[in-house]
């Protein structure tokens, strides 16, 4: 087990380097650079950038240097000094910008995950055990509905209804008076009052697929001889279900942890933009749109690291939960 983990960790190094290079290439690929985008953005409001200033920006940010030179300069800073560079737009260190938003991103993602699981898990089990019953059809229908409705649309509709019908403020995660207040019980309560909107919207979207996976896995297991045997031995139905088939069917839930971590950064991006959530997603989108290279690069690098770590974690967990994987 330990050897396996060490081997996996060592493999991460070349993949990360390859990925960081690819990320940099991808961000460079669109025509123009940060300065062009900056000028274009301001021009959209008929604002004019001083022409000397534009040329100066380009040389200040090193955008007039060859691509490889920019990459080496950036990646050596990351590796040697842990310095992810300066965001062009905000003139702030990239790491500062990202960490600032991490805590709330974590809150939103994890609460969404918990809610998704809390809904999908029992419904999945139920609809497998009572296959083709009315309850199965109803929950499946609702699940598919949630999957089919684009979450940003749901967000917009919910916001419109809340604002226009109830005069409530649903955007963001805090009311104005708590936005910059230090943490207190009041602020936590206020967070909870706002949190349910994005969490429900996001969970609606994620449950359907998990329900289906859970249902399918359960159905595979339910008809296996060991279930019949256990039932024949007189085990109560509830205990039987939880102890044997559910335990086996739960694997896909653990696998989701693998993609949960990168989701911390990029998940729910559009919903976060629509709802003006102070999470990492909108910042990532902004940095890509404005070609703010180092910020976007750091985000992509972070996402890759999280994917790799997440996959490793879920592999370890799977091995712990399911002995069959361990012995392979």
């Amino acid at each position: 087990m330990l050897g396996f983990i060490i081997k996996r960790l060592l493999w991460m190094v070349p993949s990360l380097i390859a990925v960081s290079f690819l990320a940099f290439v991808l961000i460079q690929l669109p025509p123009g650079d940060y300065v062009t985008t900056y000028i274009a953005t301001l021009a959209a409001s008929n604002e004019i950038v001083d022409q000397n200033a534009a040329a100066e920006l380009r040389s200040r940010f090193g955008l007039d240097q060859p691509f490889l030179f920019q990459y080496v300069k950036w990646i050596s800073g990351v590796i040697l000094r842990g310095d992810f560079g300066l965001s062009f737009e905000w003139q702030q260190p990239v790491s500062e910008l990202i960490w600032e938003r991490m805590a709330l991103t974590l809150v939103v993602t994890i609460s969404t995950l918990i809610l998704t699981w809390a809904i999908a898990f029992p419904i999945g089990v139920y609809s497998a055990v009572r296959q083709y019953s009315i309850g199965d059809y109803v929950t499946t229908f609702i699940g598919f509905l949630g999957l089919a409705v684009p979450s940003f649309l749901l967000a917009l509709v919910m916001m419109y209804v809340a604002v226009v019908q109830f005069g409530q403020d649903v955007g963001g995660l805090f009311s104005p008076e708590f936005q910059t207040a230090p943490w207190s019980w009041g602020k936590v309560e206020n967070l909870l009052e706002h949190l349910w909107v994005p969490v429900v919207i996001l969970a609606t979207n994620g449950t359907a697929s998990l329900i289906r996976i859970m249902r399918a896995n359960m159905l595979d297991e339910l008809h296996k001889p060991y279930v019949t045997t256990a039932r024949a031995k007189g085990l109560s139905e509830f205990r039987l279900l939880l102890k044997y088939p559910v335990r086996l069917a739960v694997n896909p839930f653990i696998s989701t942890i693998g993609w949960l971590l990168p989701n911390l950064v990029s998940g729910a991006l559009i919903v976060a933009v629509v709802l003006s959530l102070p999470t990492a997603g909108p910042l990532l989108l902004q940095s890509l749109m404005s070609q703010d290279m180092y910020l976007a690069g750091a985000f992509v690098l972070l996402m890759c690291t999280l994917t790799l770590v997440g996959t490793l974690l879920s592999d370890i967990l799977l091995a712990l939960v399911d002995p069959r994987i361990r012995f392979d």
Binding site: P31, N46, R60, D83, W90, V273
Partner: protein, 652 residues
């Protein structure tokens, strides 16, 4: 409106002596009105308590000896309240600038025709318009109580703008003939700007956002990050996690158009409100609080601003900003929401949201300019596009009224280019030529030019057998209306046998294609409707990113003939006239020169347009008063700033 402007412009056409007398007279009136009301001078309630607690000097010590007296738009207001306004998630620092940050040495009047005293209470101009002496307000203070003097302005020019580590080249506004102006201190409240040559537009340029450098960097604060004044800037930069002192300086002191200008609550300013919650990458809102040392008073001697503060909410998405507007969560907004498509929704919800609409006079001239690339790389296409008859055939082939009715909700009129009809320099022929819809005439012209052969789709063929086909570059995310309008143009042109591809591209690609001179046609909004001399890119090829009919010509002009392509004689004459017009301050003479320029441009007919840029709108809460019912909207007149938000107030 036209009448008013005429007067204003005449007011500008003063000789030096008249100007001095006029400015002196103005100053005198402000002294009189001030001393009359100095005794009962009033201030915001929050300061009364602070003064009583001796935490803040009394009002008389905080105000300059000659404060700027502002005449409120409607009436004298009352203190209190917070203005709620919206910003977009990214690159919207200028949204703050427009509301609070336009405190230059001069400022615009409401009509956008003349400059008024602002930080400088009067000025003298040398006879050849190359030397400007500004008289500052004695006793004026930065928002931290430190005196604002001539030294601050000298510091900006000698140690900042002229410092090649901070500004590789000084901003273009401060240079004439490639040389930056020399700024010298005469005494504590007098500074002299000396240019290498005449600079007729200088006073107006100082009222625009890019002209605010003199009042941007407080010397006593910014020297803390300047290697000339402190030794350890390298350590400071390292501690702040930025690469060098220049980055640190920009992070702490900002610049005119960068987000960090609003990211440092410690930096003293001259603005009516100062930053309390900064604009940074992670911010979800920006809050500004009243500046206790603000140097303006109303006609009764009450210190401005009336409103306690401004709260800018940051919406990642413009649609959610719209939602805030219609639900009455915004007190004043025009930025981002003022598209014609939004107007019906906004107007419908006015009662529920408890707001009213005000009008912004579009400073643009043309809503959608279609620029043929007269310097096209392909010689055959270049020859076709450079034929004036060909271009007029294209122009006659557009059914402008249909586009106006369908895309612009009937709110405009057919139009080409030039100063708007309300402007004193309005040039009718330049604005209206070739705008009638006349496909028959177009066909005749095209036939006469020899494009008589057609292919199976009825598209005309060039003599070399190729289709008459052009791509038109447009950015759908920036101006969605232009894509709709182009769809109609495409239909109109195919009726006269011209094939067009609407090349919808991303904005950075649009600029890159322009820089490489790769476009056949490109569309953009045509500026300069209210400020035909400040932004003349559509009638003189002077803007290497904006004069899209001849970008290489503009490069040639900007580089003094070193790069780019040499333009034809007609253009060179216009450039010469333009240079002359800019170097003089006599507005009447400027008008004469401008007419000559526009005559030449009419004759050349470089580009075509669809319709006059329609006026836009903004919303203001019904309780928020002193917001003018009509104001210009332009970058040079960065609305709503020059309408002085410091005199807006909330009724009880």
């Amino acid at each position: 409106m036209a009448n008013k402007k005429g007067k204003g412009l005449k007011g500008l056409a003063l000789t030096r002596r008249q100007l001095m007398a006029g400015a002196g007279g103005l100053a005198a009136t402000s002294i009189v009105s001030w001393s009359a009301s100095a005794q009962q001078a009033k201030e915001a309630p929050e300061f009364v308590q602070l003064v009583a607690d001796k935490k803040l000097p009394p009002l008389a010590e905080r105000l300059p000896k000659i404060p700027l007296v502002v005449t409120p738009v409607e009436r004298v207001g009352r203190y209190g309240g917070q203005i709620r306004r919206g910003l977009r998630g990214s690159a919207d620092h200028n949204g703050i600038l427009r509301m609070v940050g336009n405190q230059g040495l001069t400022r615009w009047n409401l009509e956008f025709t003349d400059v008024l005293p602002s930080v400088a209470h009067k000025w003298d101009v040398s006879a050849d318009s190359s030397e400007f002496t500004f008289h500052l307000r004695p006793g004026m203070k930065w928002s931290d109580g430190h005196p604002f003097t001539a030294d601050d302005i000298v510091f900006v020019f000698e140690d900042c703008l002229a410092n090649t580590e901070l500004y590789k080249t000084p901003p273009a506004l401060w240079t004439i003939g490639g040389q930056m102006c020399k700024v010298s201190k005469v005494d504590d409240v007098t500074v002299k700007f000396k240019f290498a040559g005449p600079y007729g537009m200088f006073l107006q340029q100082m009222a625009t956002p890019l002209g605010q450098h003199p009042t941007l960097f407080p010397k006593h604060y910014c020297t803390k990050f300047h290697p000339k004044y402190v030794q350890n800037t390298a350590d400071l930069a390292k501690a702040a996690n930025v690469p060098d002192w220049g980055a640190l300086f920009r992070l702490r002191c900002g610049d005119i158009e960068i987000p960090s200008r609003w990211g440092n609550p410690e930096k003293p300013t001259l603005d009516p409100w100062t930053i309390a919650e900064p604009y940074t990458g992670g911010a979800t809102r920006v809050v500004l609080k009243r500046n206790p040392y603000f140097w303006q008073v109303d006609t009764e001697g009450n210190q401005l601003p009336y409103v306690d503060g401004i709260v800018f909410g940051i919406s990642q998405d413009v649609e959610s900003l719209m939602l805030d507007v219609v639900s009455g969560k915004i007190d004043i907004q025009e930025r981002h929401i003022d598209t014609l498509q939004n107007k019906p929704t906004v107007a419908q919800s006015a009662q529920r949201g408890n707001y009213r609409l005000f009008e912004t006079i579009n400073a643009n001239s043309q809503q959608m300019a279609i620029y043929p690339n007269l310097c096209h790389k392909d010689a055959a296409i270049r020859a076709i596009l450079n034929n004036k008859d060909f271009r007029s055939a294209l122009s006659h082939g557009i059914n402008r009224q249909e586009i106006i009715d369908i895309v612009y909700l009937g709110q405009s009129q057919p139009w080409q280019f030039g100063p708007r009809p309300t402007h004193p320099w309005y040039h009718e022929k330049f604005g209206r030529q070739f705008t009638e819809y006349d496909p028959k005439k177009s066909n005749e012209l095209l036939d006469k030019l020899g494009y008589t052969r057609r292919d199976g789709q009825n598209i005309r063929l060039r003599p070399d057998g190729q289709k008459l086909f052009f791509a038109i570059d447009v950015i759908p995310t920036l101006y969605p209306d232009q894509v709709d309008a182009l769809e109609l143009v495409k239909r109109h042109w195919s009726a006269i046998g011209i094939d067009v591809k609407i090349n919808t591209i991303e904005r950075a690609l649009y600029y890159t294609r322009g820089d490489n001179n790769d476009h056949d046609f490109a569309v953009w909004q045509g500026p300069g409707g209210l400020e035909p001399l400040i932004d003349a890119r559509d009638w003189v090829a002077i803007h290497p990113q904006g004069s899209r009919f001849g970008l290489p010509w503009a490069t040639w002009y900007v580089s003094n003939g070193r790069d780019g392509q040499e333009p034809p004689e007609n253009h060179k004459r216009r450039m010469k006239l333009y240079d002359e017009a800019r170097s003089i301050s006599d507005v009447k003479r400027q008008g004469v020169l401008m007419k000559e320029i526009l005559d030449l441009a009419t004759d050349a007919f470089d580009a075509m347009g669809i319709c006059l840029a329609p006026n836009l709108f903004g919303i203001a809460n019904n309780r928020l008063r002193n917001v003018p019912a009509k104001m210009p909207g332009a970058w040079s007149w960065p609305n709503p700033g020059p309408s002085l938000p410091q005199q807006y107030f909330f009724t009880g």
